[in-house]
Subunit: 198 residues, 2 copies
DNA sequence: TATTGTTATACTCTATAACTATA
DNA sequence: TATAGTTATAGAGTATAACAATA
């Protein structure tokens, strides 16, 4: 029957929502004292469920938008990073994108086969390879970003413009903090050669 | 070296953030016309990255909080659902939690082994099994919910009280919409026997 | 000796298919 | 015949370990 893919869990149905409501009702119905949460707004309490649903929905939309890119979202990330930050060594790229270096090998094989990036010898270290985007890679990236932008709008469809930016802002702050606590990437050098049109 | 686990992608480092900044700078530096986004707030635009980071962080915290529950977050969900909604048939539970029925079998094996739930014969259909939580299961659930609540607070640590509830509200709305578009569960009958203290 | 990148292999988790027992 | 649940197995995706080339 094929259900959705495992996603690190905490997604799927909101058990707590209903659970908490049920227990709320039970307490009140039993004539118990008003519990901690005063109002009847227990729905907003299930962060895990909401987070999972939204994340899954976005991941799905993004995957669909990027389906023809080798490696999917990861291929996009490699492309986006190398275009934005210039040539990167394979291992650095792997670390920055939180991809195992062995996986990075396969990923780059696919991207190179599709002529989106190239592996070039690093003049400074003959062991290392520099990953550089091809012209076609840059073009494809532009298209991808357009599609991703559409996907984002789709996901946030229920919010008006003001709410949308408010949500993004709050989410961003939470993300920054989370990323600071448990950073994914260490190499945070913002050195850059700028990139042309898009 | 062991990196993080694949999570459906779109997580890890923010390639677009830097990318868009770089391209913004490039455009302006080149004396180009002011592009669509007027202000210098391109950071808030990377929904995918922020969503991924926050989701991953929460998933990690939740998994840690639930590490001693068989099946982890899924085991918790089974427990929470059966406690909140009463006995459920195995297949219904699987559908509701978006878990394959074959996976549900293993999951319940583990939960039953740990004496958190029981499989009981359904009087109405001798093929079916009703999943009911044990007393110990209910107790464990209470503890789990306490821990999850702590985990939630941790994740939202950078927001003050007002921002926090605003964020939850907006997220909830986005989630409701997403869930409506692509519903995970069909059986939305809110029938319930209430449950005792917690 | 340590590091970059590759390859081969093992492991984890999920989905498919075939089976038993009921309906 | 169709459905609830189980089992075995195949499949996708990731991580580990051993290797060649270079530092």
């Amino acid at each position: 029957m094929a259900y959705t893919t495992y996603d690190g869990d905490m997604t799927s149905t909101p058990p707590d929502v209903k659970g908490r409501i049920a227990r709320e009702v039970a307490r009140r119905g039993a004539g118990g004292v008003e519990p901690q949460v005063a109002s009847g707004a227990p729905v907003e309490s299930d962060l895990g469920w909401a987070l999972g649903v939204v994340f899954r929905r976005y991941a799905k939309a993004a995957a669909a938008a990027l389906e023809d890119v080798p490696g999917g979202p990861r291929g996009y990330q490699v492309l986006a990073t190398t275009v934005a930050e210039g040539p990167r060594r394979q291992l650095d790229l792997a670390a920055q994108l939180a991809v195992d270096r062995t996986v990075m090998t396969y990923l780059l094989d696919d991207l190179e086969k599709a002529d989106l990036v190239q592996r070039q010898a690093d003049p400074a270290d003959r062991r290392a390879r520099l990953i550089v985007p091809t012209d076609q890679g840059k073009e494809v990236l532009c298209e991808m970003e357009r599609r991703l932008s559409t996907a984002e709008d789709e996901v946030l469809g229920s919010l008006d413009q003001a709410e949308r930016s408010s949500f993004r802002l709050l989410l961003q702050r939470v993300a920054m903090k989370a990323n600071a606590i448990d950073p994914v990437h260490n190499a945070c050098d913002l050195a850059d050669d700028a990139v042309d049109d898009c």
